[in-house]
């Protein structure tokens, strides 16, 4: 839960006044001017279309942006929330939020950084809200959830024993990740599952890049320890 506050209230390093004011990511310094990626250019186009009032065309172009980032977003959200339905909603909400606030997007940050930050904040909100719910209500039957996952994943598994072992391994890994400190978890998720470099994670979270590297190393060391490997 504390991780949420940390990511949200991260102080900007050198965020330019105009971008901070217009709602761009507050944490981290903007990445040095690099050739803009396809998704960033696409986002700029969509912003221009929205500003000119060509909403239908903007929506159409936004579909391409969704296709580009959907898989990665789903992976991050699912690993964060460990629940298919909730991850689905979180990803949808993040995309809708991005489209709604596309006018506030500034190309000082790559689109990926901006989008991931929105997604992660949504996921953290959901985790927080779920933790609160679980303190007050009886949790749902975990067995049913597992069997549902197994039934969907069962198609690709070659043999039931291997499937069972794989599921057990995944469960252990998920539990180990859940035991990580909030910042370490966020950094590990973004770097490892979100394919972000420490520099990008620094821009997303507002944590210093060298601190991101330290958090990542410690997270991996802890995970190896939890999973019975070398710590």
């Amino acid at each position: 839960m504390s991780d949420h506050r940390k990511v949200r209230n991260a102080k900007p390093h050198q965020a330019p006044a105009d971008t901070a004011h217009r709602g761009a990511p507050r944490g981290g310094a903007p990445l040095s001017p690099a050739p803009q990626s396809d998704d960033t250019l696409l986002a700029i186009d969509i912003r221009a279309l929205v500003e000119s009032g060509a909403m239908d065309e903007a929506r159409e172009r936004f579909g391409d942006l969704v296709a580009l980032h959907q898989r990665r977003a789903v992976r991050i959200a699912f690993q964060y929330l460990r629940d298919g339905a909730e991850a689905d909603e979180a990803v949808q909400d993040a995309f809708v939020k991005v489209f709604t606030h596309i006018a506030s997007y500034r190309e000082a940050w790559p689109f990926e950084v901006w989008f991931t930050r929105i997604l992660i904040n949504g996921c953290l909100d959901r985790r927080k809200s779920r933790a609160r719910r679980e303190r007050w209500f009886v949790p749902a039957d975990e067995h049913g959830q597992e069997s549902a996952t197994e039934s969907t994943g069962g198609r690709s598994g070659p043999n039931p024993e291997e499937r069972l072992l794989a599921r057990e391994r995944r469960g252990k890994l998920a539990a180990a990740i859940d035991r990580l400190d909030g910042r370490q978890r966020t950094v590990f998720m973004l770097c490892h599952y979100g394919d972000c470099s420490p520099r990008e994670v620094s821009a997303m979270t507002g944590i210093n890049e060298s601190t991101v590297r330290v958090h990542l190393f410690r997270a991996v060391r802890k995970l190896r320890g939890f999973l019975g490997g070398k710590s």
Binding site: F62, R71, F95, T100, R133, R135, T149, G229
Partner: protein
């Protein structure tokens, strides 16, 4: 941190892994050492294997949960939701004409004299009843009023502590409600019990320590 005399430390090995993955330049000293030392290469391979295994497991799990069809459905749902963004809600016209015509037809079916007769009958009934049995009438009215009157503050049973917080019930946001509830329950309400509360460890504190 595990220090290996004459070998690369774990954090250096991990930096090497990160550099390889993100396409950064490797530290030349570390690269040189890795080229010569089999033991460090074995440790480096362990790190890479661990990271790859966790990544593959996560990918497999996500792919199993989010199949191509589900992703497509999700994409369509996102686009459907976007159709309503930046678009003002449609105002449905009030069906004034239909209602008027319906009331007219009802008016034709029930004659006006019937309504007038019913009202007159009720008025006469109440007046005659009040004239012939006024005491009984007043008693029953008084009883009814007493029953309907809300309880005074003194008569009302003391509200439990949790109920006092329930002002947020009207709030549609469940989270806000639960948060208020938690805040209210976090502090003791009965003065006499406060020392005991201070001495007793809270479940939440224990959970936080465990984490």
């Amino acid at each position: 941190m595990i220090v290996h005399s004459g070998h690369l430390k774990d954090d250096h090995l991990f930096e090497c892994y990160l550099a390889t993955r993100t396409g950064e330049e490797l530290d030349p000293r570390a690269a040189e050492h890795l080229a010569d030392c089999d033991q460090c290469v074995a440790r480096y391979d362990e790190v890479v294997a661990f990271m790859d295994t966790t990544r593959q497991a996560a990918d497999a799990e996500t792919d199993a949960e989010f199949t191509a069809e589900r992703l497509l459905v999700q994409q369509q749902q996102i686009l459907r939701r976007l159709e309503h963004v930046h678009r003002s809600a449609r105002v449905i016209t009030f069906p004034g004409r239909d209602t008027l015509s319906a009331s007219r037809t009802v008016g034709r079916l029930t004659p006006r004299w019937l309504a007038a007769a019913a009202a007159a009958g009720l008025f006469i009934g109440v007046a005659v009843g009040g004239y012939f049995a006024p005491e009984r009438f007043h008693r029953s009215v008084a009883r009814q009023v007493a029953a309907e009157r809300p309880m005074t503050v003194q008569q009302r049973p003391a509200a439990p502590a949790a109920v006092r917080v329930n002002t947020a019930l009207e709030d549609p946001d469940d989270d806000a409600f639960l948060m208020e509830l938690e805040l209210a329950l976090a502090r003791p309400h009965t003065r006499e019990l406060q020392p005991f509360d201070a001495m007793t460890p809270h479940v939440r504190d224990i959970n936080n320590q465990e984490r």
